[in-house]
Subunit: 216 residues, 2 copies
Amino acid sequence: MAEKKSSKRARRPLTEIRQDNIDQILKAAERQFAETGFPGTTVAAIADAAGLPKPNVLYYFKSKEGLYRAVLKRILELWMEAMHDLSPDQHPREALRDYIVRKIRQSRDYPDASKIFAAEILHGAPYVREELEGPLKVQFDDTVEVIRAWIAKGWMDPVSPEHLLFTLWAATQSYADFGLQMRVLLERDELRDDDFDNGIELLTRLVLKGCGVKIV
Amino acid sequence: MAEKKSSKRARRPLTEIRQDNIDQILKAAERQFAETGFPGTTVAAIADAAGLPKPNVLYYFKSKEGLYRAVLKRILELWMEAMHDLSPDQHPREALRDYIVRKIRQSRDYPDASKIFAAEILHGAPYVREELEGPLKVQFDDTVEVIRAWIAKGWMDPVSPEHLLFTLWAATQSYADFGLQMRVLLERDELRDDDFDNGIELLTRLVLKGCGVKIV
DNA sequence: CCACCTTTTGACCACCTGGTCAAAAGGTGG
DNA sequence: CCACCTTTTGACCAGGTGGTCAAAAGGTGG
């Protein structure tokens, strides 16, 4: 407890103060937006959660929308990253399992990011339409091709690559987006690591066995 | 074009007027809430969409929240209905396939209902917590038992019934909730019937083959 | 046709929201 | 220590929101 992390007394250089405040605000904003959505979140609530007065938040981010866009940008990078690493040379046995593990871990570690993204799509993607049509589409097409290649090599059954991806996304992201429902139905206060592991196991089984990928 | 559907001139009995207006309002509200969420939807917008002045909407539903609750109630009934009809005597081969078909059809036919429900869960289920913990939990437990019975009879592999249901829900509902994303990635203006059919086919395959349910 | 109930509607309001501003406080570099 | 820049903050505001109200219009039953 050498020093308070809050802004009380602590002679800090401006650059550090700035970075620190921006981080605090982004963090608080991400949680608030995830909890109550964009229109349901008030700048005052974000400011409170970040421990700053409201005008201070508007000082760093010129508008609520600007702040939301900044949050979204962060999230999208994270999101795109997880789709990487499906290469046609890899065998689907490992590639798909790893992909499922990665995506479910993401749901466990960044549930707010997933929720904000889900709400965004749900409500017509008013702020991420471009990214959907641009970078994400490219990633998607590439990944579809990888799966096609696997099928061509006889490594898996000829299933629709597009819908396989949709199902993978839906199933893995639901561990974040519908985590509340799962908690209620499983009678848990919080999802546990073995809940996520069970999800991984089931989904891996469905996909590998269901697509006729040889396990050994 | 015998008569305008709007309220212009048409000597209609009060009871009919009442039912008609309530229906219009609920319909308009469902669409608006699905599009922009509860906080993002304005009573004025609902009134406009229903072709009525704002105070008229508040005349039938005492508050925005009351209207939202009414919309939710409708949706929940629809939602619970689809979980029915999994009986332990039925063979999972038909039962699961039918279930998938039913749920994806629901996503196709009532996307707004699915979206509202999804947003509700996403944001902490402030208005449906009770239903989750009550009726839905009961349904869930029953369904889990049915799947357990199938496993006990050796009709399918011993997989986690809970997570199987989570995956089924996620995958089927995503055809409504993430329909926009699918449309963008598939380069469609609207999802077509064969898109839904492909989803049904893939998911059925994953589940039946993946869970070791004998196809014949 | 008339007293009575339901529905419609324009005007209105208290409140909250995002955003502004200017002055004060704090940090910086010479 | 001082001129200068960045950050903080209380006071403030215009616009939009959910909701009210009272009066008018429309339907109903005898």
